[in-house]
């Protein structure tokens, strides 16, 4: 998953193996677009957002079965007869809705970047 590599350089080496795809118009130089600073910045921004949050929610998720399987810490009462296991499980629901909302907010900004790339790098270039 190396973002921001130089596609144009490798193009020459892989050119021999290029197959002609029937019906595809090859006017757009996607390698150039992928190599443009605008596009690379967008990928970098997306990666910075997606990667840490994905790792976070997966770790948060698997911590529940790990804790319930190997320890008893979540069986202690939290509020009345409700144990920490239920609190932790509810927290996962809240996390899902929060991350969902955060994702939408963030990606609305990325939409503008993407539109700009289409306008300037693909259609304009």
């Amino acid at each position: 998953m190396k973002a921001g590599s130089v596609y144009t350089e490798e193009r020459t080496t892989s050119k021999a193996k290029q197959r002609k795809t029937p019906g595809r118009k090859a006017e757009i130089d996607f390698a150039r677009v992928a190599d443009s600073s605008r596009f690379r910045t967008l990928l970098e921004k997306k990666k910075k957002f997606i990667l840490p949050l994905t790792i976070f929610f997966l770790v948060f998720y698997f911590t529940l079965p790990i804790l319930t399987s190997y320890t008893n810490v979540l069986e202690r009462p939290a509020i009345g007869d409700i144990s920490w296991a239920w609190i932790y499980a509810s927290a996962q629901f809240i996390m899902t809705w929060v991350l969902c909302t955060v994702y939408v907010r963030k990606f609305q900004k990325f939409d503008k970047d993407a539109d700009e790339i289409v306008e300037t790098e693909i259609k304009g270039g």
């Binding site: 892989s14 050119k15 698997f62 629901f93 909302t101």
Partner: protein
């Protein structure tokens, strides 16, 4: 059975047939058949995703499991919901931007290789068949219980309905049946949950303290550990649940019914809210059934607990509410199997017939005809399998479908979108490693082989200790893709540049 339940069932049948008749007029091209012309709004598709996803296993199965096993039943709810974060963060938008009608289309946006398409179509069909048998067996058992009619007639009724929807109304009919079902299901679930909550004086604290003494398990009912006692098995199941959704072909196909990545995103948001609220309410259903129906009565009706929700409805609102809930369960099953038939049919008609046999040169008429024939054959084949599979455990088949999806489909999807070096050989080995390891490990697991006669399909010592193999087969899928890639020289950085630009900008000619 009362006349109320017959009237309600018939209303659902008539309403869905009306939808199909209306949709049939709008289904003249292959694109309309596979994806409703890509014209659904985010809201509509979000509801349809929820309708496609919340199967009888969720409505009847989880309510029953919470009623019987307390906290451990709720594990399913958590996994099924958080799976939507995986869909949203990693898969939904690139999938919409790269694909056209099927999962294989999306993978083949990087590789023009027939073998890759064939492998993707094959894993789609495998998952669809497992999932479908689970739904049909569940449907047959439910209708048999409610009406006292034989199992085979019940399976035939559901089978004929699903065939009609897909054959005539394609994705438009399927989507609207799913939307109607999602609304009915939420309505039914909210009504029962409110009635349950009222019995506990609208207090969460009262609910927990009463449930604590309501079952024979006592305090243990509210704690983890009643059902899942093998740590690795629990974690493996949770892995299959959270990663499986993002590889389920009938869910992924729903993203091709919207016009762009933005709409795909808003459909996931809608779906996540609905699915999340539904799974929170499963606690009320399960606790209510445990307290007001009781363990004995639930197990007496069905050993797996599948009748907990209808019995609870009867205890709370008498015959009328029970009839309504049973009708909702019927609609639930219809909507899910219709989506499955359509997905299986598109793998046959679009991938195998249209793209592999006809090399993408099939005319609209040819592909439509193939799609309709394939729907018919997929339906007939699944009905026949379901008739012979009455004794199979439904939850096991569903969790197997999730495991195959997570092992065979998710690795290749993620590599296609994010890994530059990934190549044709890697795509093939990722799918084959994941698919074969999941199937083989299940075949030698305690679900299939048990030293106790009657506890599993065959008598014998299980060769693999876990009931769900995801913890081994998912890493094998990723490993297979990685090995296949690095051990073969081929690599097409230019093509990846195109895929990456299209996936991230949504650009199309």
């Amino acid at each position: 059975m009362s006349t109320t339940v017959i009237v309600l069932f018939l209303s659902i049948v008539l309403l869905t047939l009306f939808i199909t008749w209306w949709a049939a007029k709008r289904t003249t091209t292959a694109g309309e058949f596979y994806t409703a012309g890509g014209g659904l709004t985010g809201w509509q598709n979000g509801l349809a995703i929820a309708g496609d996803y919340l199967s009888a296993a969720s409505f009847l199965g989880i309510a029953g499991m919470i009623a019987l096993f307390g906290f451990d039943g709720f594990f399913y709810s958590i996994g099924f919901l958080i799976a939507y974060l995986v869909v949203m963060f990693l898969v939904a938008e690139p999938l919409r931007n790269l694909g056209k009608y099927t999962l294989a289309d999306m993978i083949n946006s990087r590789f023009d290789a027939k073998k890759v398409r064939a492998a993707a179509a094959f894993s789609t069909i495998t998952i669809v068949i497992f999932y479908m048998i689970a739904q049909l067996v569940g449907a047959g058992a439910l209708i048999q219980l409610l009406f006292g009619i034989p199992y085979w007639i019940a399976v035939l009724i559901v089978g004929v309905m699903m065939t009609i929807y897909v054959l005539f109304g394609g994705m438009t009919a399927t989507s609207w049946v799913q939307i109607v079902k999602a609304v009915l299901l939420m309505l039914g679930t909210v009504v029962i949950a409110v009635l349950v909550f009222a019995r506990f004086d609208f207090s969460i604290m009262t609910m927990f303290s009463e449930v604590k003494t309501a079952t024979a398990h006592g305090e243990a009912f509210l704690q983890p550990g009643l059902k899942y006692t093998v740590p690795l098995d629990t974690i493996s199941l949770m892995l299959a649940l959270v990663l499986g959704t993002a590889g389920l072909p009938h869910i992924l196909m729903r993203f091709f019914t919207v016009k762009d990545a933005k709409t795909a995103r808003s459909s996931v948001v809608t779906a996540t809210w609905i699915v999340g609220i539904f799974y929170i309410l499963t606690i009320f259903l399960g606790f209510g059934a445990a307290a007001f129906v009781g363990h004995e009565a639930i197990v007496a009706a069905n050993p797996a607990g599948n009748m907990a929700a209808p019995l609870l409805a009867e205890a709370l609102g008498g015959d009328l509410l029970m009839s309504f809930v049973s009708a909702v369960a019927f609609a639930t099953i219809l909507a899910v199997v219709a989506g499955l038939v359509l997905t299986g049919a598109s793998a046959f008609a679009h991938d195998i017939y249209g793209q592999i046999i006809k090399k993408g040169q099939a005319t609209q008429q040819q592909e439509m005809k193939a799609a309709r024939q394939a729907s018919l054959w997929v339906s007939v084949f699944s009905i026949l399998l379901a008739l012979g599979a009455q004794s199979l455990n439904v939850a096991f088949l569903v969790s197997l479908a999730f495991c195959v999806a997570a092992s065979a489909n998710l690795p290749v999807i993620l590599y296609t979108i994010y890994w530059k070096r990934f190549n044709t050989t890697g795509a093939l080995t990722a799918m084959l490693f994941g698919l074969i390891s999941a199937l083989v490990l299940v075949a030698v697991s305690p679900n299939v082989l048990s030293p106790e006669a009657g506890a599993a399909m065959f008598v014998g010592e299980p060769l693999f200790p876990l009931t769900n193999p995801a913890i081994v087969s998912v890493p094998l899928g990723f490993l297979g893709g990685w090995l296949g890639t690095i051990l073969s020289k081929e690599s097409d950085a230019r093509r990846f540049a195109e895929v990456s630009v299209r996936a991230n900008t949504g650009y199309r000619e």
